[in-house]
Symmetry: C2
Subunit: 341 residues, 2 copies
């Protein structure tokens, strides 16, 4: 709009008043400070006319607040995270907060580095999917009174607010659903990961299998797969080397994509030869031929809980209570699973 940056000083000089007065008016403290109506109007008009905007840096340097929340996830290009990101951004916006995204790539060093960086930028709060080894950093954050809320997974040893889903319960139910469909030999495909959400999913599967007196068949993909095909090949080997498998239950949707790719190569007939179920629904599952059954996480609710939680911490005065939220998932039944008995 205008040419050069205009500061509060310029306005003061131009209007012949002090910067203090302007600051009060801009920050809505005019009434409180009993500034005259005339003065208020003069300043407001001028501010609007020149399109003045206070410099955020200076503001937050002085106030220690920045109205910025960091949204730190494992991988922002993962649709689960980017969808939540969008919802959060929207709500944050309404409350006058900005969101800064970043991806940790599950690398604790990178995560720590990012947290340090953002602390130095005076961000007010953090929404984090913690990587392993972030425990100390989170504790520090908490002790420094930053607003922090974890999601997707959490850290048992740290008393920190979090929003997660019923991983264990849903996987238990999902497994039981496959069993009810007549499957006996069910393979659970997961990542070799100690993250709580992965462990809980695995454990839900195992409990269900055990309860029904079935043998657990777990395929763990090493965390860093160089190529997507790699896992595809491995799972083919796994299936071939095991007695006929009735169903495969994937612990995340991207594992399912790799698996489906592999099944394509093997020319397996779904669901006739193999039933397929995946954790974490994805719109492609509805488009896939056949459509793939999945356990859908309540994206909107997660986003809402996160924002409520963090805003609560941000506004709340010394509300030390830790907020632990666990949301329910929904089993979406589609073509890849069906009752044979």
């Amino acid at each position: 709009m205008t040419k050069k940056k205009i500061s509060i000083k310029d306005i003061a000089k131009e209007l012949g008043i002090s910067i203090t007065t302007i600051s009060f008016i801009i920050n809505g403290k005019a009434k409180e400070k009993r500034i005259s109506e005339t003065m208020i109007k003069t300043v407001e008009d001028y501010v609007a006319k020149v399109g003045y905007r206070p410099n955020y840096l200076a503001q937050s340097l002085r106030s220690g607040k920045s109205k910025v929340i960091v949204f730190m996830v494992e991988d922002i290009s993962n649709s689960f995270f980017s969808n939540i990101a969008r919802l959060i951004e929207e709500r944050a916006y309404k409350s006058g907060y900005k969101i800064i995204y970043c991806s940790t790539e599950n690398d604790a060093d990178k995560a720590i580095e990012l947290i340090q960086t953002f602390k130095n930028r005076n961000v007010d709060g953090f929404i984090i999917t913690p990587t392993l080894g972030l425990e100390g950093e989170i504790k520090t954050l908490l002790s420094e009174n930053f607003a922090v809320i974890l999601f997707d997974r959490w850290i048992p040893s740290v008393e920190c607010s979090h929003v997660i889903v019923e991983n264990e319960k849903s996987c238990y139910e999902g497994t039981e659903y496959l069993i009810q469909n007549g499957c006996k030999r069910i393979v659970f495909v997961t990542l070799e990961s100690e993250q709580t959400q992965m462990q809980d999913r695995l454990s839900g599967y195992k409990s269900a299998m055990k309860k029904h007196g079935l043998e657990s068949l777990v395929f763990e993909e090493p965390f860093h797969t160089s190529s997507p095909d790699f896992m595809g090949d491995q799972i083919i080997d796994f299936l071939k080397s095991h007695e006929k498998v009735d169903a495969v239950f994937f612990a995340t949707n991207y594992l399912a994509f790799e698996g489906l790719h592999a099944f394509r190569k093997m020319e397996v007939l779904i669901p006739e030869d193999l039933q397929v179920l995946s954790f974490d629904d994805h719109f492609f599952f509805g488009l896939h031929q056949p459509s793939i059954s999945a356990i859908a996480q309540p994206i909107e609710q997660i986003a809402e809980s996160l924002m409520n939680g963090i805003l609560h911490q941000l506004n709340g005065v010394e509300s030390t209570e830790v907020m632990k939220i666990e949301l329910s998932n929904k089993l979406v039944k589609r073509g890849s699973t069906f009752r044979t008995v």
Copy 2:
């Protein structure tokens, strides 16, 4: 780590030296300023010991630079954008820059608001997929010497660096490919949008059709579709109300997803009854049954060109030259298109 924030002053006091010296050492100007080795070592050790990190806000308030680049796209949850985001983040990181993402949702007001906000945070550069109506804002940015680079689309009336792809050429070739496959009645499904990339794609299609003496059949989806099904139904109507259509060419992948969904409902046989081609490849196209042919944009090259361009502007002294880059796409032939003649 430590308890309270430690500032350069604390270090000065503790070590009994001036903050100036410390500042020099921290900023690698020790040699230049001929600070003694002993002093350097003392300071560096102490800094490492207490884990001191300069406050970025203060730094950038003073220097006017922030080492931050804004990556402003239409929708960060769109995989095309989020994939580029990741690549860019990686490269930026190596050059000591941080990336801040945000989505405009194609809303010029929101975009302007965001740009204003970031200007006030002293960001150094902007990577933008411009919405319509952003012309003035971009011009201002340029005149204020911010580093700016547009991508995906551009603004003809503004002399601004940009990285785009050969939309017209690729769509011309894609259309011709369908024609060579024996298709005559080819529908081009696009958005009702004046954005350059959409216009160019449409125009490529039209030229090809015209050259081969075929009639252009264009279906334009109104920009804001309330539900994904909406367009699906509309395209079914469109196809039904037209003489037998041989092929559908989608201008973006999400349009293709909607379309494929509709074709599913119609029980159309692909490619026998209908050949399908889409602009902007997506990993799901390879998984779909049948796999979907697509025009793949060179993601890595785009990301690389963007970073090169912006870093060039950031480092370059008065390099007023505008950088216009147009990259080539690749036609990926899959099961949804095949030669019938």
